[in-house]
Symmetry: D2
Subunit: 350 residues, 4 copies
């Protein structure tokens, strides 16, 4: 089949570059347009600073950046959006209204009742909200959001546990890499030899988004999952990869071994459908006493998997463990790409 | 008065060097002897690698290292011990049996029922166990232990909260600096751009030691404080300073403002007695949304204070906050020095 | 005597903050005014981000930032300038024309023929250019510049060697800390686990400024010193402190021991005059095979000294060695403060 | 053809692990044996700490470590040696005497007159020394050494310049990554936020090895190249990749553009022969003002290429530039693997 032409909004930012990197050789998608703010529009992509390794893919070097408005993307059907949050609401809405299929990493639409907040391995059925959204808003296109990076990996691990044992309470403390703040992002003078115990607006996302994603689709709405989350979020001096220490109370008791088995054996739709960017397995369980580690494990499943370890009894609740995932691959661009792959297979992309 | 002559066991290690640094100009104590293993005995102190800044104090450079046995320290009355854990039980016992007053940073005696595990600002009354210890063991000297570095700062902050509101449950996740592993300690290849979610034997200490220190002296024993602690311990790429994210359930409800006030107004015996190494205040409460930070705040009170911030409601328990303290100053050598100062004032040092 | 009132331009930047820190308790100077751009003017100083440790001095917290124009600083006699280079030429000229004594860390005036580019320990006699400057420009005030941070420490070490042996050729490769780029400065994503072999416009400064400072005052002008410098400048992942590897050819041969003796015995005017910020000695020579080291030695002489080590034969030229100095203390704010102290003693500050 | 069975000595160390990683899927070679000291002999390879990413190759996990003596490697024809320097002389000699073809990364044999010190892209003709070596020592096997990591990349870039313009003088200052010191190697407390201007015995290697490799094979010996090198070596806080700042004097003048063209167009035997590990090109020339950078460029050519940039005039000599190469890939294990590939093609491996 011909590849589907896609555009990337916010293509010059750190997440936008991850979209470019993941889509440059994609078997189903072809980058047709790169969007930017009016400051960069008209400039060649290669004249903007590339912050990833390896070097910028040759195919996009000479593409001219377009102002991120729908009329400039008429050759595209799918839009991947790394638009800054302060303009994402307006811009993404305009694209959906103009008939584009928008997969966004921005936060404004995430908690809207008619917008699927999706992790392909967790809640692919929430895609059904798209029809509600289109009907309610009169959009020929639609918007599907992926979650906050830290919430994505937490939810991926909570899903099998919630299915098997029922979650009641979740404590989570994150240790997040600097790439989570984009580029230029965190100054060296702020984070070298340091931990900053605060990331603006991160804890509310981590306390809310998982409950929507683990919620039940009830007709035209999501019933949020019925458990509480308490989050502390920290910035630590690592480049990529968010680590999370988690303690959970379960409705049905489980041993660490049972939990490990549930996580290890978890299979979901993307693997079954053979989506090109799907990691297999989506959850990697490590048995060593000191894994996962950020630098060693963040690229598990090409950065698309979540790694869990140290599953053990919690002296107050039931279980505790640590998890790790790549924040700009699965936790950002990769999550959106996988969402798009799923919706192609499910027939949502006309 | 004449200064009291002191010896330092394990003087070549990282904590031993902190002892040397803190005691080199001490108003009450004078370093008379430096102990080491037989590998270093007989060598001049300046011929061993010094890992702190500023440079090694001039007064100790030409001291000859002595084998760490009681007969080599007869000119000393107090012994500060940074002896490795694997020999500390035997060695420290021999010193106490020989009449020395031993202040140890090693772990083997910490949980012994007749050994005070002391933080001067938390449980100075536990010093009374010394008489029990001497009677039971027939020692003319004694052993007083300070706590694990992470437990020290946690307990310092829990103390006023426990007094005021009663603790019921404590969740703590630590992010610990590499100096906590001594020297040479953590290889760069292990921790650069990384988090290691495991520190051998650290979580049990953090889950137990605070309950002894916050316990009640009941005649010849300590009744452990009646609350549970769940700990996750992580190594992060910082040089000095342990950060801890804490969530607590209280027996009597308290607002964040009430907790802040209790912590801010906490005063304890060392400040009242004017002990030379006592920080004043011993707990620093920061109001900024992003403090304490490791590099900015670890030297609060010359590294002897504990810094608390982000005191806020916890969505599951009652309160959550973050705390920070210097691990090799207050959390190790400094804790022992302050214990010794207190016991001089209390008359335990004959 | 009453303290001399001083103003600080660019007080919110990284170097401006160093000025504040060094002047907050100065025995001769008193901070009367803090200047900023129109974006910050009117704001209290404490409401701007402070990037140094320890915390912002209490005395300046409530000072209101003033727009950096002469009419707002009439209560000051001395101006310390950390003004950004792009406006420094205009602003500093206006202050000098209005009668202020301006000590600047900015670069625009450094190479002007009638502006002293001064290191107190190197060329205090160049202060005589002030009278040339005032006559030529009709300024009642004056401008005295300190050098680029890397050039400052290089020149400090070259001075005694040039006096004793005559320099012919100098190769220098710098490894510079991120604080040299100000705040926010270097993004973590750019420099963590990295070396950047380029610092914009740094090599020309390092190849030219030392030749002016080591030049001879000839009436109303400086005859540049007659030797060539080749420089490579690198950014490395350190916080503070610039390291420089240097190879030199001398006009009169010297052994490493002779060079070490010349450096070790060097004394200069600031020590003789007892200037309050003068380090003594101004050059520290280390004999260990692996010193100076950035983290261990950058605070030598409270950050005001230059540390030299590994003085040895060069297989091509004559000698090679390594030197280290603090870039924002002696290499920036501290250099200007020391210049002002000297000129007070020399009677240039009426 | 059947794969040639190879053994790896010192397989548990950092370089030994790189050998394992590069040989696990090699098209011509098959790992048949892993050697270790008597402390590890008999242990399964998976029970030793693996320090690279990704995880240890599955094929070697269950191999039992053998004591590194010839009688334990009779199933191998080629030996790759990462043996510690203090035993390499004896051990490697025994293997060559027993008929093995030894490719060593250790230093003891490098400067022996009858041992080829080889970089495939620089001096493949030096392989002819093997016959001299075998005749002189009576060995059925032989030893071929690769150079010090820093010398390897320097020499790779000097080679085309020497061929084209004739080198006269070379100044080099290295900034070397911690992996160069092996594992556990450099403690975090030694190098974080630091530069150490000394690496034991590194400068002599860097001043001598390139002159042997760029020397001329004259019958049964090498005439060293007739130019001088002055080296400063520094350890900087990077994980992998050595950066070098170089200034050169040439016998025939050349512009930066001419030098760039000579480097860019350099082709050598490995590319022509299609050796499986050969990078193509072996020298990458970057035109950006701030490249190469350690983290961005160390994996050029899968870590087998050398990257050069900032080629410009030197104000004292002729040219200056910066170069970068991976120290444990091309600079260690990869250099030996490529040497072995070349000698297979040249018929030295019977």
């Amino acid at each position: 089949m011909d590849k589907i032409k896609v555009g990337i909004l916010g293509a010059t930012g750190a997440v936008g570059q991850r979209f470019v990197q993941m889509l440059a050789d994609h078997p189903w998608f072809e980058i047709a347009a790169l969007g930017a703010s009016d400051r960069s529009a008209g400039v060649k992509y290669k004249d903007r600073r590339w912050v990833l390794q390896p070097d910028m893919p040759a195919a996009v070097r000479d593409m001219e950046l377009r102002l991120g408005e729908p009329e400039n993307f008429t050759d595209c059907r799918i839009i991947f959006s790394a638009t800054p949050n302060d303009v994402a609401k307006r811009v993404e809405g305009e694209f959906a209204a103009a008939g584009f299929y928008v997969f966004t990493n921005a936060s404004p639409y995430r908690m809207e009742p008619d917008v699927p907040l999706m992790i392909t391995d967790v809640n692919p059925d929430h895609a059904a909200l798209i029809r509600v959204q289109q009907a309610r808003r009169g959009w020929p296109g639609f918007i599907v959001a992926n979650a906050n990076c830290t919430a994505t990996h937490l939810t991926s691990v909570l899903k099998p546990l919630h299915d098997a044992f029922g979650l009641e309470k979740v404590f989570v403390v994150s240790m997040q890499a600097v790439s989570g703040a984009g580029y230029p992002g965190v100054p060296t003078l702020d984070i070298a030899d340091n931990v900053i115990p605060f990331i603006n607006n991160e804890e509310p996302k981590l306390e809310e988004e998982p409950r929507k994603m683990l919620g039940r689709l009830a007709g035209d709405r999501i019933e949020y999952a019925d458990f509480a989350i308490s989050a502390h979020c920290n910035r630590v001096p690592t480049l990529d990869g968010h680590m999370e220490c988690v303690s959970v109370a379960l409705r049905r008791k489980a041993t660490p071994e049972e939990a490990a088995e549930v996580l290890r054996s978890y299979r979901s739709l993307p693997q079954e459908l053979g989506l090109p960017s799907a990691p297999d397995p989506c959850i990697v369980v490590r048995d060593e006493p000191d894994r996962p580690q950020v630098r060693l494990d963040r690229m598990a499943g090409n950065g698309m998997a979540t790694v869990v370890g140290r599953i053990r009894r919690d002296p107050i609740l039931d279980l505790k463990f640590v998890l790790l995932g790549h924040n700009t691959v699965r936790g950002a661009a990769g999550g959106s790409v996988l969402n798009a792959e799923l919706l192609v297979k499910q027939g949502y992309i006309a």
